[in-house]
């Protein structure tokens, strides 16, 4: 070590030289020579979809105030099914939690895949979605109902 430090020009091709200490060569085991203990696990796809049922949280995420009603809106589908919107972060989450299949892709309002028709009622967007919306269409992935609604999938 010291030789290399004192005369760095002597071995220009090496970053350092091993001299001095008589270390047995076995000290410098190469990692690659060790037998591979086990194959690395294959890449896993992670799904960050809600794990719990957003429509049935164990503890209500909403603070209860005396005299204030919790929102509870009925969501009527054009095929006659009826579900409810209460706790979910978006209409899409609420529908999924109640086994209503809706096409989706981005889940943040720019792709427009989840587009459904709003037949009755009003919805609220926390942020204006980027996808094109025809008259009467809503994006369940980024809206919540403001009243009882009726939609056509």
């Amino acid at each position: 070590m010291s030789a290399a430090l004192k005369n760095p020009t002597e071995t220009p091709d090496n970053d350092f030289e091993l001299t001095g200490e008589d270390l047995p060569i076995s000290t410098f085991e190469l990692e690659a020579l060790q037998p591979e203990a086990e194959q690395p696990a294959p890449l896993q796809t992670e799904l960050f979809l809600p794990e719990s049922n957003p429509e049935q949280p164990e503890i209500s995420p909403q603070i209860e105030f005396d005299g204030m009603q919790k929102p509870l809106f009925s969501v009527l589908l054009d095929d006659g099914r009826e579900v409810h919107f209460r706790h979910a972060a978006s209409l899409l989450e609420s529908l999924e939690a109640q086994d209503v299949a809706v096409h989706y892709q981005c889940r943040e309002g720019y792709c427009g895949s989840c587009r459904v028709q709003l037949l009755e009622g009003n919805v609220h967007y926390a942020e204006e979605p980027m996808a094109w919306l025809n008259e009467g269409d809503i994006l369940p992935c980024c809206c919540i109902p403001k009243s009882d609604i009726k939609i056509k999938l």
Binding site: S2, L43, Q105, C106, E108, Y110, R115, A131
Partner: protein, 376 residues
């Protein structure tokens, strides 16, 4: 109206239509007629990624283990996607930039094309990884008749518009004699060709890509070619945004919001739109047949893929305010949603092996013995 790279006229931006108005001069974004394009640019920039960020070493192993007919499916899709992104990486620029009139739209078109070039680069990244000689895959794109046949339908509307628009840029409207040929340039025909071109681009991004996406994700569902699926996921995220961009352009045109002539053209072309969508769906079904000619893959066969084409065609045409082309059905590949969802796209160092992350890795463990004969 000869093209100029910097229009010196003074004009009111808000009075300009998207295309064929005053040529743009100052690239300024303080005045925006259609703010959506600015939002799209910002979103696209936030999506920036590089193919090298995705580790593909396991895919190499997977690819060698695939049976021959599945290799055919994988490689053919890759070739087709390479073709599509080659077209998309240049055509919006060449076709639209000379006639665009709004700075935010001009920049959106450039940003859009640029992201397609990243997709093209990622195909080279994938191909380099699976075969020793990438040329054997890339050279076949122009030789394989199944691919070239589709290249024609992908590019014909672009070429037909660019052809006429070149005359318009040089000579303006009117009847011209060029090399003994009579060229008739009128605004109505020019706008008609542009509208159909945008529809065909919409089809490319909304339907054509999704057949390949479905196959890539079907491999990944079986834990095969997962690095590739990760790249395709990033591409799908970009394409969803581009699709929103073309849907906005088409709908602004169709509503006559800034150019009433486009509203009449959109009305005239309703049958053409349905025809372009149906033809594309038919071509994609034929492609599905070619893909599975030597056998299906687990989880996906020709029939399911054809049903998916019909399903996605209905979805996309409905977004443009048209009636569905095919009988309505549920999504035959419901699992694909989870793969297409960008929430899952994570390319953080702790999640994947990233070369640049490993390069910086050093052994920082220093024992006092290492400095034993170190003297000052």
């Amino acid at each position: 109206m000869a093209y100029t790279t910097f229009n010196r006229n003074e004009f009111d931006t808000f009075a300009q239509p998207m295309f064929f108005g005053e040529q743009v001069n100052v690239a300024r974004y303080d005045q925006q007629k259609h703010k959506i394009f600015e939002n799209l640019i910002e979103k696209q920039l936030s999506f920036f990624w590089r193919p090298e960020e995705v580790d593909l070493t396991n895919d190499r192993k997977d690819f060698f283990d695939l049976p021959e007919h599945e290799k055919h499916i994988f490689v053919s899709n890759l070739k087709y996607q390479t073709l599509l992104d080659s077209v998309q990486g240049r055509s919006p620029n060449i076709a639209l930039l000379p006639v665009v009139s709004l700075p935010e739209l001009e920049t959106w078109i450039e940003t859009w094309s640029f992201s397609e070039t990243i997709h093209s680069r990622s195909y080279t990244h994938i191909v380099r990884n699976i075969v020793p000689n990438p040329a054997q895959i890339f050279d076949d794109i122009t030789r394989n008749e199944h691919i070239t046949r589709r290249a024609i339908s992908v590019t014909e509307y672009y070429d037909s518009f660019i052809n006429l628009s070149n005359y318009y840029i040089q000579l303006g409207e009117g009847t011209h004699q060029v090399n003994g040929e009579t060229i008739e340039v009128n605004m109505h025909e020019l706008k008609r060709r542009m509208y159909l071109m945008m529809v065909s681009v919409n089809v490319l991004e909304a339907i054509r890509f999704y057949v390949s996406f479905a196959c890539s994700f079907a491999f990944a569902e079986r834990a095969k070619m997962e690095g590739n699926a990760k790249i395709i996921k990033l591409i799908a995220r970009d394409e969803a945004l581009h699709l929103t961009g073309t849907q906005h352009i088409l709908q602004i045109m169709a509503k006559g919001k800034d150019d009433p002539e486009f509203a009449t053209i959109a009305e005239e072309c309703r049958d053409d739109v349905v025809r372009i969508f149906s033809e594309a769906a038919q071509q994609e079904k034929e492609w599905a047949e070619y893909l599975f000619k030597d056998g299906s893959m687990i989880g996906l066969n020709k029939d399911i893929l054809c049903q998916y084409v019909e399903y996605i065609t209905n979805q996309r045409i409905a977004a443009l305010g048209f009636d569905p082309v095919f009988p309505q059905r549920n999504n035959p590949l419901p699992w694909i949603n989870a793969w297409l969802n960008s929430d899952n796209v994570q390319v953080a160092p702790q999640e994947a092996e990233i070369s640049s992350y490993l390069v910086g890795a050093i052994d920082s463990e220093v024992d006092t013995a290492d400095l034993g004969d170190f003297d000052l």
